[in-house]
Symmetry: C2
Subunit: 215 residues, 2 copies
DNA sequence: GCTCGATTTGACCATTTGGTCAGGTTTTCT
DNA sequence: AGAAAACCTGACCAAATGGTCAAATCGAGC
């Protein structure tokens, strides 16, 4: 099979070996980038974690940057998928609860992905700014529209929909990004499904019913 | 005056020049560490930002690690100071609003400090684990006690106090850590006091009154 | 079992990085 | 003024890092 010298087949075709090794690399790279950031991650270390030599890794990805971009691209879709499922026709409370639950599960099951995303944005989102300003903004604009409609129909209170979304993002992400702090303070782990269920319950209670006692 | 060879006087005494240069270094280091993490930050770059040679910087801080620890130590107190002000005798709504406002202001005025703290915790809090498990835990235990008492007295609903605190931390910190994303999606800046006021209002409305319309 | 491209390796390289050191300059104290 | 200590610099170093390359090895189709 003709290859262009790199393992990134432009034709789209990909060997079984390539499939396997690229996946291994992306997994290892995600962990490393999430932990140390782009600059702090070491190529050799990623190679070792992926079970291959540095040279071989660089056969699959021409450079550290290319690898980083690939990791981010693979991550982005998973990160914003949950928001897509927010159904304008559904019940606000049920829809938002389902959304929060998805985000919480993502934080628990892919904490590295969550952290890497945070890391990238914290650095000014140099690699994904166009995604934030393009596809993400469009999606968010659409969903804030839904929230506004719900408010207009009197089904939820009239709060700034952006901020409601940010609150959900912030809190759910917090359980991935600040896991060590949460563990130190509560002794609980987000990885524990029981804890996650408690969090979901408390979170939805707070968001929907508020903190003040019923009048 | 006797010095021990390093600029870190163990006796505690410190020259005017030392005062000034250490401050410059810590400022520059905070920005660098916040942006690139410990590993990613470059000593030479910090020195340049602080307006001195790398050699001179290393005259004030023996190593990158020592510098990092100093930055963290200076940061920690400011980070958790607001929680101390939560007054058990006060009105829950007023107290929590004041607390949220302080955290929000911190995010806006010292976004680098906020990001560095996030970065450190995301990496497993290798340098400040003892602080999290010691002083921070004690403080949080005390304040969760206050929240529990308020709940017992029927002044607020009975929600897990830890999670209430996490929600406040997460949302307020979000405005510093994810500033680029917020700017991309809303066009607003947390640095803008007007926006901050809006955020505070929406946030407290959500937390206290909830999202559901009054029955 | 041969062939040719895909895969893998190890030696190698230029650059960067954290850190040292000997010596020079400035400040401070008497 | 002058000595001692504080402050600063530039040259230098060893280790680490991202990346290259020629050559060896593997594997699927004939």
């Amino acid at each position: 099979m003709m290859m262009d010298g790199s393992a990134t087949a432009p034709g789209g075709t990909r060997t079984r070996i390539q499939e396997r090794n690229r996946a291994r690399i992306l997994d290892a790279a995600l962990v490393a980038f999430a932990r140390f950031g782009y600059r702090g991650a070491r190529v050799e270390q990623i190679a070792e974690a992926a079970g291959m030599s540095k040279s071989n890794l660089l056969y699959y990805f021409r450079s550290k940057t290319e690898m980083y971009k690939a990791v981010l691209a693979a991550l982005l879709e998973r990160w914003l998928a949950p928001l897509r499922t927010l159904d304008p026709e559904g019940d606000p409370r049920a829809e938002l609860t389902a959304y929060i639950e998805q985000k919480l599960r993502f934080s628990a099951e892919e904490p590295e992905a969550s952290r890497l995303f945070a890391n990238e944005v914290m650095q000014g989102a140099p690699m994904i700014r166009d995604v934030l300003e393009g596809p993400l903004k469009e999606l968010v604009d659409e969903k804030t529209g839904v929230l506004r409609r719900w408010a207009a129909e009197g089904r939820i209170r009239d709060v700034d929909p952006h901020q409601l979304i940010f609150l959900i993002w912030a809190t759910t992400q917090h359980y991935a990004d600040f896991a060590p702090q949460i563990a130190a303070l509560t002794g609980r782990e987000v990885a524990d499904p029981a804890y996650r269920a408690e969090v979901l319950k408390t979170l939805t209670a707070l968001i929907f019913d508020g903190l003040l006692p019923p009048a």
